[in-house]
Symmetry: C3
Subunit: 299 residues, 3 copies
Amino acid sequence: MPFPHALPPPLAHSSAADWAAFAACALERLRAQAPLVQSITNRVAAQFTANILLALGAAPAMVDTPGEAGLFARMASALSINLGTPVPAQADAVLEAAHAAQAASKPWVLDPVAIGALPLRTALAAQLLALRPPIIRGNASEILALAGYSGGGRGVDATDSVAQARQAAIALAEQTQGVVAVSGPVDFLTDGRNQLHLANGTPLLTRITGGGCALGAVMAAFAALAPLYAPHAAAQTQTQPPSPLLALTAAAVLVYTIAAEQAAAHAPGPGSFAVQLIDQLAWIDAASVRERARIEVQR
Amino acid sequence: MPFPHALPPPLAHSSAADWAAFAACALERLRAQAPLVQSITNRVAAQFTANILLALGAAPAMVDTPGEAGLFARMASALSINLGTPVPAQADAVLEAAHAAQAASKPWVLDPVAIGALPLRTALAAQLLALRPPIIRGNASEILALAGYSGGGRGVDATDSVAQARQAAIALAEQTQGVVAVSGPVDFLTDGRNQLHLANGTPLLTRITGGGCALGAVMAAFAALAPLYAPHAAAQTQTQPPSPLLALTAAAVLVYTIAAEQAAAHAPGPGSFAVQLIDQLAWIDAASVRERARIEVQR
Amino acid sequence: MPFPHALPPPLAHSSAADWAAFAACALERLRAQAPLVQSITNRVAAQFTANILLALGAAPAMVDTPGEAGLFARMASALSINLGTPVPAQADAVLEAAHAAQAASKPWVLDPVAIGALPLRTALAAQLLALRPPIIRGNASEILALAGYSGGGRGVDATDSVAQARQAAIALAEQTQGVVAVSGPVDFLTDGRNQLHLANGTPLLTRITGGGCALGAVMAAFAALAPLYAPHAAAQTQTQPPSPLLALTAAAVLVYTIAAEQAAAHAPGPGSFAVQLIDQLAWIDAASVRERARIEVQR
């Protein structure tokens, strides 16, 4: 294996430190691989998302034209779909890309922004859910709405707590056989069997536009590493080991939110914070991830 | 009332200091209310506009898909419409949202970017004008073109002075029974009966893209507070008091342009200025607004 | 002529210092003219591109709606077309604008982002190539694909070297009778007869989104000055003098990449670099261009 300190994904009995060590290692692997990440996202967050991916070491490609999006999904290493401004042509591109990613077994992320009250994106999210997205990311209100538990939040803001969305997230993960991540002051991640609480971050992430949207694309960048771990997973003798995707999704959250903490320490306001977050993602190293990760593993 | 120092809108005999004090108070109310502001804007200014609204303390939602835009306008506290890049789907969303806002008596802002020479947006602006937008914001050339006085400017740049647009602005305000704001080195605001000249600002606002577009959304955020003042207005015994919307629009201009002055003091160039403006909007306090406001009231 | 130190374009025997002096002079002319530059670009780079043009001293207008784009191309001084996210409506606008620019003899730039593997934009680029764009800008893989030599790169990234694209660039320039610029660690420019290597820049330009896209718009801003030089070109007695457009394109590259070097010196990371690049483009002066230009002229 090309990485001297490559680590297998955590197992069911792994400690919080094991999860953090895996995240730190995955960051180094991501930078070595520079995965090509297709991002279909809203127009508000597109520039910020591309800059976040570049800073992290991934190669972004915002290909969202029908007739190109599906072709590109077969070339890319991973796909991120964000429903923030689903104009008709982009909605077609989303379905095309998701089908192509699914057919080519490429990892992909669904971020069902502001579903619930808004009918077009809610219907589109339901179509995508039927394809069983490997990773779903949203705030509590979006996860509740996607699972059919409630009607959604106030625009892009959650009106429900992460704790309220816990059962909905687990149910969604069981339904998709994938990973579900609920963003909030403490993020909740589950693959339906294992639960993680990740407590890094800063309120400034909610004071800039695209702070959550970019995280979805970062999850896709880490998920692009999944093929590296598939053999390990198969070799495990546990009956229900945590999904490698759960560990990679956790790595994305940890790297992003720890960089955000470092950015907040240097930022006098939200404008500076957005600039600093990009800088910090270019700098963050494995040691910072290991030392600063705040993880609680539940079994 | 929940605000110990809540102030009623200025009256016809109010002093410049009264208008400034109202603006300072409105800023605090806006932060307490965190109004949900729907912004349908051009793709160039969308990210900046959302970050400006977030920094100010409002909750932006850039919902501009036909089939969703009208529904959302009924949920939002105010709506901002900017015609900067009116692609066909967005033009449909604009009409849908404006009709819904009008039907639900929600305040909304029209920013007729670069109308005059460009036929599609000029026709769209005429349709919106017929709905009598509560607030219209533009540069001198755009206001002249909307009022039918001239053919518009050079792209997004004004080729006419604010003074040249004065009569057109008053005529528009009489036609709509709303507020019209003409941006320039000194901004001119009118409700058709009262005239304000607001002299804060910095030339750097014209050296960044979206500097004017974001102000339209900030006006919508302040206009969202209008329901707080309606009872006051009805109780007034004056026959033609200034519209509460005029005072709220002036508050938007003052807060934005004073924050811009503070940003310019910290910015070595236009790139830094855009970042600083977002920071300063997160920090600006009532005292700065009261002390720095440069207002001339005409009766 | 209004410029005391106006310089004619370099001739075939001109030195590197002559090319640099021309670029420095062109920068001052650009700021005096403030050309109106229509930019039809992808949604990821639109805000950054507009801010770059404003900082440089040009007047950007991102008019890309079918029914408006062609009309505006006749009003603007130059046009920049970037195929980064060619949704259907924008593709129509691109053709409309290119035809109008061609008919009105306005200079225009084609940036065929990520063509080759993606069929819609590849077909669109071929239609535009048939109109003989006065300036073509791309990375090595894009230039090879446009010339029909290969299938393109990996998304927006080049997988070929600038040297590999040299013959393709010269062939394209002969075909269009225009200028072709290949971006890379050392940029290669040709008008089919004269070759320039420009070595300024910083790797940080590849770590921010829109770094190359904005350069295409900067080339259009400099190309807008071409009418100033046409009489000179006609008066020249050389049989094959370098095209004035070659000198203006070189000026664009030099100003942009020297500003980027200055930005990199002040930027701790890619987020700060994007902000600094805008600041530096507002500050860069003729002396810096003359002193820092790294040019190799080949005949």
